[in-house]
Assembly symmetry: C2
């Protein structure tokens, strides 16, 4: 069961949700399509399981620790560092979670897609919040729109799932 999720996640990232057939997944875990349906109700449920786990992990290992940091400058740095680490981590138990989430929302129903998007937006909100605090304390360059800046930073981080590899990290991104 867990192996199904792992392989499916890998395939979804590799070939996209639509580009992956139940046959592909069945082959990857050594079952028939029919056998696969003994463990999973539908293809969409499988995608949701994966996406849900990915977003959940992000909330647990990125958002939560970052929220606990008091100083806004430090909080922002922590958020960025943890988020990049989380994205870059290609673990044995599940493929890159954020990639699988962001890139395959198409397959979800409107309702679930909206829900996942709302949860993803927390990253942006936390970023903007920290920037707002910094601005209120006069610790930010004048004339910076915090909303635009927050979008920029979020985008910068999210985009890392397109090149991965190198170990050199920067937290000097303000």
């Amino acid at each position: 069961m867990v192996q199904i999720r792992v392989e499916a996640s890998r395939l979804f990232v590799e070939k996209g949700y639509d580009g992956t057939s139940m046959q592909d997944i069945a082959d990857a875990v050594g079952l028939t399509k029919a056998g696969l349906y003994h463990f999973v109700d539908s293809k969409e449920e499988l995608l949701f399981l994966i996406v849900d786990a990915g977003v959940g992990r992000m909330e647990r290992e990125v958002l939560e620790p970052a929220r606990a940091v008091k100083d806004p400058r430090e909080r922002l740095a922590t958020l960025i560092r943890l988020h990049v680490e989380n994205i870059s981590r290609v673990e044995s138990d599940v493929g890159n979670p954020v990639t699988s989430v962001v890139e395959n929302l198409v397959g979800l129903s409107d309702q679930k897609r909206a829900e996942v998007n709302a949860r993803l937006r927390q990253v942006f909100e936390l970023t903007r919040g920290a920037l707002d605090e910094l601005k209120a304390q006069g610790r930010l360059t004048e004339g910076v729109d915090t909303t635009v800046a927050a979008f920029s930073i979020t985008g910068m981080v999210m985009w890392t799932n397109r090149w991965r590899r190198p170990g050199g990290r920067l937290s000097s991104a303000d």
Copy 2:
């Protein structure tokens, strides 16, 4: 013919390449599927037409003008400004071109996908080149890896296709 490209581009962006059927496109332009094939050879050709036009426009209206700027600091600012403008522009004659390109590469053959990716990479290369020059001139904060920084800036810009709207722009992104 041009209307086909416009509607197809819009639909590809809205529902994804795989999620859009030839029937959908035919409906959008008031034709039958069969009638559609009078103007287009295949679905993939249609996607390539759109993607090719999008990348071409980016090369013409973003890369070329930016390359002409001598001072690296100014060149970088120009590149970012033009690129953001180009992405944000939702014109009557074609949907957001970069979005349609970046998000739907899945549908292309390996060969064409590689070609388009190579053309997209020019943005990154130009960014890194400008940063390298700045660094050589000692005009850049010490200890910054230009490759990572270039990826970050590119990502920041590319991500803008996820929120569009507001007019407030920043070129203070160094």
